[in-house]
């Protein structure tokens, strides 16, 4: 009886978090790879659509109508990577696990903005700005909601005549 109780508490104290770490590692990596594949595919689909960060329109663009377009995403790191990042935070230095997260979030936000402009029939987007905001804090042990929001916005224009 004592033994079963002991092994149960051992499982809940150490077994479960380790199991969760392993689970998060594999599923998290799968989701990340899948997301990158998806981003590349969609980036190919919008290839050639002019999206620029100039604050004035290039001279040869003759603008017809225009509007503002936005794209955003809230994204979070998996449990395994959060724990690694937490440990890394103790010794300092480059936290590699966060880099792909921010990169894919930013590319996704840009893509959503671009797709929104394209779907509404606009020909280009200029004055693109990117903003990052932290939604909530993760605790040091890797628990708690952690989210980063990426926002991309710009001015979409329809061309009145042909370019050039």
């Amino acid at each position: 009886m004592e033994d079963t109780v002991n092994s149960f508490s051992l499982f809940f104290n150490y077994g479960l978090p380790i199991l969760l770490l392993v689970f998060a590692y594999f599923i998290g990596n799968m989701i990340e790879k899948g997301h990158f594949r998806n981003i590349r595919k969609r980036e190919d689909a919008v290839h050639g659509f002019p999206v620029v960060s100039f604050d004035t329109m290039p001279e040869e663009w003759r603008a017809g109508s225009s509007t503002m377009v936005t794209g955003s995403i809230v994204i979070s790191l998996d449990y395994f990577k959060r724990v690694i990042a937490g440990l890394r935070g103790l010794i300092g230095g480059r936290i590699k696990t966060y880099e792909p997260l921010l990169e894919r979030a930013r590319r996704e936000a840009l893509l959503r903005m671009t797709e929104s402009a394209k779907e509404q029939g606009y020909d280009a987007v200029f004055n693109v700005r990117l903003e990052t905001s932290r939604l909530a804090n993760a605790r040091r042990d890797g628990n708690g909601t952690a989210g980063v929001e990426m926002l991309a916005f710009g001015t979409a224009v329809k061309f009145a005549g042909r370019i050039g």
Binding site: F23, W61, T70, F153
Partner: protein, 112 residues
């Protein structure tokens, strides 16, 4: 989760509306909204936090809130008699644990 939003007046984040001329300035207009997170959504987000990836509930929440802030900014501009808002900027600030303010501001103008 692409948002295709049509605004009731011309709006841009540049200093002018492309292809049009500003004839009158009305000043800065603002719109805000303060949102707290939803318990149900937070539980879902907590689960999603284990494997990582997009927290769709939060993406939607922030998109809706930002739209509302923008709408309020536009309403203010329209009440002043403007027909466009230029140089629109967004800001987010966390007010307390679990609540955030979304804020949109710009310059109300009349374009011809």
């Amino acid at each position: 989760m692409v948002v295709n939003k049509t605004y009731s007046i011309a709006i841009s984040n540049t200093e002018s509306i492309p292809g049009r001329k500003i004839v009158e300035f009305y000043g800065v207009v603002t719109g805000n909204t303060v949102r707290a997170k939803h318990v149900g959504r937070d539980i879902m987000a907590g689960l999603k936090n284990i494997v990582g990836g997009e927290l769709k509930g939060y993406t939607e929440l922030l998109q809706d809130s930002r739209m509302e802030a923008t709408e309020r900014m536009i309403e203010q501009a329209q009440s002043m008699g403007a027909n466009a808002v230029v140089n629109v900027r967004f800001a987010t600030s966390s007010i307390s644990q679990g609540a955030a303010e979304l804020f949109a501001y710009g310059t109300a103008v009349r374009v011809a």
